[in-house]
Subunit: 106 residues, 2 copies
DNA sequence: ATAATTTGCAACCGATCAGTTGCAAATATA
DNA sequence: TATATTTGCAACTGATCGGTTGCAAATTAT
């Protein structure tokens, strides 16, 4: 079973869960109330998020408060970083390279 | 059919393709040579990447050079940005909030 | 002790996904 | 013109995904 951070945040519901957990730790029941779905569906999403290390649960009596592990998202940011220079540059290198190929053909 | 940038970069092969396209525009055939898979499989990945706007093709004769559209990745970076403060902060707010809940219970 | 609450796990279902195979269209080469 | 190359599209397959239902375990409340 593939369980990496990229696959974890691919699902919009999971991203919404992560966003909710940004401000406070929540229980599965509380989370489920925010979405038009069952608690079990939310629980399965939590399991995915937990297995990839993006959230962590902390038991308090019979309730489990799930909190975000923000550092995990840094892996995505690190992967994006090399591309940042590309979208921040005014000129587009790929276009230039393509132009070079074109000119070579002529 | 879901076709957003998050789902596009969820697949490791597609991320590898995007990384290869970072330095130069490539044709489907050239790309396929780099992976242990068929050209058609790569073509399907390209289609997904193209449909979500992460790559764009430019025809040169019978060949099509696919190039990356880096700006599209900014959408992911923008989603990550609010979390950046969290992983850069030394203290963890969620832990604090959880402590508050705990103390309230006592 | 009994009942209610909160949660995780397993089984199942329909939809989607990644990959393969086969084929047709367009372009380049002989 | 005939052949080879490059590509996209459609059909198919096995695997995975998101969601639901049912149930058992642990904790809390009556």
């Amino acid at each position: 079973m593939r369980r990496d951070i990229f696959q974890a945040i691919a699902d919009p519901t999971r991203r919404a869960i992560v966003t909710l957990l940004m401000t406070q730790a929540l229980t599965p029941n509380t989370l489920a109330e925010r979405f038009d779905t069952t608690r079990q569906a939310v629980s399965k999403h939590i399991k995915v998020l937990q297995e990839c290390g993006l959230v962590a649960g902390e038991q308090l009596g019979r309730e489990i408060y799930y909190k975000i592990v923000p550092m995990k998202l840094k892996e995505v940011a690190d992967w994006l970083e090399p591309f940042r220079q590309m979208w921040e540059d005014n000129f587009n290198r790929i276009d230039d390279l393509l132009e070079q190929i074109k000119n070579k053909e002529l």
